[in-house]
């Protein structure tokens, strides 16, 4: 009985060990299966990630190409913009230049038109004054005419100066007298270094008024208006115009005055 019990005890133990082993194996198998699935899952993930990476790389390549294209386009647009800006600037300069020429022509037209628009001596003198004040930009001027004997210049019109102090200028005296003698326009810094008389301290320009090459009178400009930064090309054109046309207009107005005077005198009983 005791032997049997012992045999039964051994059998039970073996059975238990076998069962434990079987469960252990089963657990290992289960664990193995889990790991296999995990590996499969990781493999799948890896494959997906690789796929995505490939796609991203392709996209990145595509974006780089797009970026290059945009850079090129931008560069082209910048170049075109620079060309357009240069053309625009060129046209702007041309427009300004044409406007300036138009303005200069308008000034010259107005000056010559106005100076010959009357035979009235007072109006001629007034027009010369207007040209100097409004077109050249000086409010100090003296208009002289040569005396009949050609020895002195006599003041016939003035603005902004004391007419008594400037009443006569002997020919050859000071800048005004010398320019009347030489027939050359006196301009500041134009190579003429003529001695000034005290009353010529503020003299800026002196224009001999010539008729058929003979000096008929003189136009002296003293201080320029404060806003004038200096003489411009159009001013020189106006001096040339005045040199020729002012003399003609003054001469004609003088002749006209004498004729009208004679006419009136002859009508006087």
């Amino acid at each position: 009985m005791a032997i049997k019990k012992e045999g039964e005890g051994q059998g039970s133990y073996v059975f238990k060990v076998r069962e434990d082993t079987r469960r252990y194996v089963q657990d290992l198998l289960n664990e193995n299966e889990k790991l296999r699935r995990l590996v499969a899952s990781l493999e799948s993930d890896k494959s997906r990630v690789l796929g995505e990476k490939l796609t991203l790389q392709e996209k990145m390549l595509s974006l780089r190409e797009e970026l290059d294209r945009i850079y090129h386009e931008q560069s082209d647009l910048r170049r075109q913009l620079a060309e357009v800006e240069a053309a625009n600037q060129h046209f702007s300069h041309q427009y300004f230049s044409v406007e300036q020429q138009n303005n200069n022509l308008a000034n010259l037209y107005v000056a010559s038109y106005q100076i010959h628009s009357t035979l009235d001596r007072g109006e001629v003198l007034s027009t010369i004054q207007e040209i100097v004040v409004n077109l050249i930009g000086s409010e100090e001027l003296a208009i002289y005419e040569m005396d009949d004997d050609g020895a002195d210049l006599r003041l016939v019109g003035s603005f902004g100066i004391d007419p008594v102090a400037y009443a006569t200028v002997p020919l050859g005296s000071g800048i005004i007298g010398k320019t009347a003698m030489s027939g050359e326009i006196y301009l500041p810094g134009k190579g003429m270094d003529l001695a000034r008389t005290p009353r010529e301290a503020n003299l800026t320009v002196c224009v001999p008024l010539k008729l058929s090459g003979r000096v008929f009178g003189s136009l002296a400009l003293f201080r320029l208006l404060p806003q004038k930064n200096g003489l411009e090309a159009i001013d020189y054109e106006l001096f040339d115009l005045l040199a020729a046309h002012a003399a003609t207009a003054l001469y004609l107005s003088k002749l006209h005055g004498e004729k009208v005077g004679v006419g009136r005198a002859s009508l006087t009983p």
Binding site: A106, N107, Y113, V133, G137
Partner: protein
């Protein structure tokens, strides 16, 4: 410039002719007056869109012209630009209290004149 009436008031024929040449454009109407009284009369009868007013005017000076223009209902709103012969700043500043809307200093820069006129006319 579209068809607008501009009144020039200046005693200097040179200035009137010059302004007329610079401002003339197809359809525009340039009116001119040689003294202050004539300027006010022209403004009242023609009601211009803009007045360019010289300052050294015979018969009625620029400040009185401005005062009369501002006193009349029909001319109250018309912009007035003074043409100032001297460049001193005080003259420019004095221009505005008596009702002027702007100023241009003589000798006139044509481009500046056109630009200001266009601004005032809204062109």
């Amino acid at each position: 410039m579209s068809a607008k009436k501009i009144l020039l008031v200046d005693d200097a024929g040179t200035m009137l002719l010059l302004e007329q040449m610079v401002l003339h454009s197809p359809g525009s109407q340039i009116l001119m007056a040689k003294d202050g009284e004539a300027g006010v009369r022209a403004a009242l009868s023609h009601r211009p869109d803009l007045i360019l007013l010289g300052t050294d005017l015979p018969r009625m000076d620029a400040s009185e012209v401005c005062r009369q223009l501002r006193a009349h209902e029909t001319t109250r709103e018309i912009p007035v630009v003074l043409l100032i012969p001297r460049g001193e700043d005080e003259n420019v500043e004095e221009g505005f209290p008596f009702g002027a809307n702007g100023s241009i200093i003589k000798p006139i820069d044509h481009i500046e004149l056109l630009s200001k006129v266009r601004n005032f006319l809204g062109d």
